[in-house]
């Protein structure tokens, strides 16, 4: 018999492979994305789906990522933590993920738009930037 171990790392850990349960949310979500995309296609109406409020089972989230895939555009914003904006395999469907400085997700959305709102320069920022530029010129 080996002496009892005092080291936490000596305790064997094995992890269970996460199976994707069929909770049924993915199908419903895809249907909603399709419906919103149709509106965008017809009259330019944009839409947003908050992924935080949906009960995903472990693995389902990853499954959704796989299904939506990655398209042509990806962007990164640095504003009180990074934000990741990816156009999915379906143009007009964007996956917008906001992180805080520690790298935790603070908001996770699917945005259906030609361009996500957060990417656009905000008028106030434009104004402030202009002021700064003018100041630069006047120096």
């Amino acid at each position: 018999m080996s002496p009892p171990s005092n080291n936490l790392k000596d305790i064997p850990i094995y992890t269970q492979a996460e199976e994707a349960y069929s909770v049924g949310n993915i199908r419903a979500l895809l249907a909603e994305i399709a419906a919103r995309l149709e509106k965008l296609d017809e009259n330019g109406e944009t839409g947003m789906i908050d992924l935080n409020s949906l009960p995903f089972s472990p693995g389902e989230y990853e499954q959704l990522r796989q299904i939506l895939g990655q398209g042509e555009v990806s962007a990164r914003i640095e504003a009180i933590g990074p934000s990741e904006i990816i156009e999915t395999h379906y143009p007009g469907v964007w996956w917008v993920t906001h992180y805080n400085v520690e790298g935790d997700i603070v908001a996770d959305m699917i945005e259906i738009a030609r361009l996500p709102e957060i990417i656009k320069s905000q008028p106030e920022d434009v104004h402030a930037g202009l002021e700064r530029l003018k100041a630069q010129l006047n120096e």
Binding site: M48, P58, I77, E117, E124
Partner: protein, 359 residues
């Protein structure tokens, strides 16, 4: 400390871009379970909002609620929230102490009379004032003095909201909730042991954004967070509907992640947002970690029987009382049986033999 500039002015001073603020508002909207599109509107409102004065009172509590808030998964957001308010009194967080601290509280109350918010964590003992006092002032008096000029009270945690663990049987200190004592102020209960930090910040954000308290349920909790049960939003719900249950914590069902109703999960009767908001930076929540919900955001959750008794099972011993009842029933039956037989015997004794003359 008592400045009343708008949040927009303050953010501009700190060099926070409007885009960054919009991102923050998106996160806020997500927190408050508001439609994602409202982020812009929230930004518009918040930018103009004036920072309210907040007085935080701690009574019979374990500081878990404060821990929950300050260890919030998004320190940046939290700091933003604290930027939005003027926290003028908080035992754990303030630098000042003793009479200086109390003076700060009194000043804040005077200057913001009718406008300040009071946050309470912990229950209030009314059995004997000696169970808790601040600087010689009992908790009850302290609370009643402080809330006089408050616009609203936010009861944070199950102790402040419903009495919580101090109120559990036999409740030695006579602990009560804020709403048991204060009847003339709007009170918003943010229950949970501890409450979800995002809910605390979400409610503050809502108050700032809309200038009023959010819609509440019958227990005074914001509906946007407590409107549905854990069970309603649980990812294991389909297993409940299919009748697939884990029977123990280490059986096949538990490994398969089946429903833990039979292991005493209180998800069906517990109103909270854990199943979607989750804990520890969205990592998981108790059920996802393999343990049933304890029901901590409900009143008297500590006295609702074993955490491991299924909701459909009794919380009390039935067998003993049933055995006693059986004995009592037998006794009554024998007593009445004897009376019945006596009655029959009397009828037999009174029996007059029938003859043809009787016909």
């Amino acid at each position: 400390m008592m400045d009343h500039e708008t949040l927009g002015e303050r953010l501009a001073q700190q060099g926070v871009s409007r885009r960054a603020f919009l991102k923050f508002c998106t996160a806020m909207a997500s927190l408050m379970a508001l439609p994602p599109g409202t982020a812009t509107a929230i930004a518009e409102a918040l930018i103009k909002a004036r920072r309210p004065s907040v007085i935080w009172l701690s009574f019979q509590e374990c500081t878990g609620c404060t821990e929950s808030l300050t260890r919030s998964y998004s320190p940046t957001l939290e700091s933003l929230i604290f930027d939005m308010i003027s926290l003028d009194y908080h035992h754990t967080l303030q630098a000042a102490s003793g009479t200086a601290a109390e003076a700060a509280r009194e000043t804040a109350m005077k200057e913001n009379y009718g406008k300040y918010l009071v946050v309470v964590d912990g229950s209030i003992p009314i059995g004997n004032p000696g169970y808790g006092a601040h600087g010689g002032v009992s908790f009850v008096d302290h609370l009643q003095q402080t809330v006089k000029g408050a616009a609203a009270i936010i009861a944070v945690g199950t102790c402040a909201a419903f009495g919580g663990i101090p109120n559990a049987k036999p409740n030695p200190t006579g602990a009560v909730s804020v709403s048991d004592l204060i009847k003339d102020k709007p009170i918003i209960n943010i229950s949970g042991c501890p409450p979800i930090p995002a809910v605390i910040t979400g409610v503050l954000a809502h108050y700032l954004t809309f200038g009023e308290l959010p819609e509440l349920d019958e227990l005074g909790r914001p509906k946007s967070f407590y409107g549905q049960t854990i069970h309603d939003r649980c990812y294991r719900r389909p297993f409940y509907d299919q009748g697939k249950f884990a029977k123990s914590f280490d059986d096949e069902g538990a490994r398969n992640g089946w429903c833990m109703f039979e292991l005493g999960c209180k998800g069906p009767t517990t109103h909270n947002a854990c199943a979607t908001t989750k804990w520890n930076g969205g990592t998981s929540f108790p059920i996802e970690s393999g343990h049933g919900c304890l029901g901590c955001s409900e009143p008297h959750f500590w006295d609702a029987g074993s955490f491991y008794t299924p909701l459909s099972a009794p919380t009390v011993n039935i067998a003993t009382i049933a055995a006693g009842a059986a004995v009592a029933g037998a006794g009554i039956a024998v007593a009445l049986g004897v009376a019945d037989r006596a009655k029959k015997r009397r009828a037999q004794q009174a029996h007059e033999k029938m003859t043809v003359k009787d016909l």
